[in-house]
């Protein structure tokens, strides 16, 4: 239970980011440290000027999936960024931006939402990952 949960977030749709936030929050509630590594479209979703926007859903959602997601939101489910914030309040959740993806997207750290703790490369991510699982979303 002490090994960190390591989440590599690649996908930038709201459904996958919500799923990632649920995994992070669940681990944080159990006292498990969480290391998150933001790549590509997940990193893009964490931009300060984009984090609150609609990032759509994965193609397999279809219209029925969209309706289901909207219904859950109307029933009071928090947006994924809020779930992430709660996870950080609860436990040791570290969110790092992949430096390669920062270059890809031409981003500076000041472009990112305060949820992001820093920028690092894959080597640092693996070092912090220890013997914990690495999950790719």
């Amino acid at each position: 239970m002490d090994e960190p949960l390591n989440l590599v977030l690649f996908s930038g749709t709201d459904d996958k980011l919500q799923a990632a936030a649920v995994l992070a929050a669940g681990a944080a509630a159990l006292g498990k440290p969480v290391n998150i590594f933001l790549q590509y479209w997940a990193l893009d979703a964490f931009r300060a000027d984009r984090i609150a926007l609609d990032h759509g859903l994965a193609p397999e959602a279809g219209p029925a999936g969209r309706a289901a997601v909207d219904a859950l939101a109307r029933a009071g489910q928090a947006p994924w960024a809020e779930t992430m914030r709660q996870a950080k309040d609860l436990g040791a959740v570290d969110i790092q931006a992949c430096s390669l993806s920062m270059d890809l997207l031409h981003l500076e750290s000041t472009d990112l939402d305060p949820l992001v703790d820093g920028v690092e490369g894959v080597t640092a991510f693996y070092l912090n990952a220890g013997e914990g699982q690495v999950v790719f979303i």
């Binding site: 929050a25 669940g26 159990l30």
Partner: protein, 78 residues
């Protein structure tokens, strides 16, 4: 069944996973050792989640009841 004094009620009705556990964990952090909280939830998944959380964190699940629609859990902080 001895009456347990509840220091705090966590109302998670209408919230789905993981929020009942997140709110319980948050509330538990603020409790002194030995104090008890009561979680009220409507999410059926809470039953297994609460038991698992208590087992993993060492907090005691004192009591668990349900009236069908709502689930009530009394948890004592270790």
């Amino acid at each position: 069944m001895p009456v347990v004094e509840i220091t705090q009620v966590v109302d998670a009705r209408g919230l789905s996973c993981p929020m009942p556990i997140v709110k319980t964990a948050q509330a538990c952090k603020g409790l002194p050792s030995g104090a008890a909280l009561e979680l009220v939830a409507t999410d059926a998944g809470s039953i297994k989640d609460v038991a698992a959380w208590c087992r993993a964190t060492g907090n005691e699940l004192v009591e668990q009841t349900s009236d069908g629609a709502e689930y009530r859990f009394v948890i004592r902080r270790k």
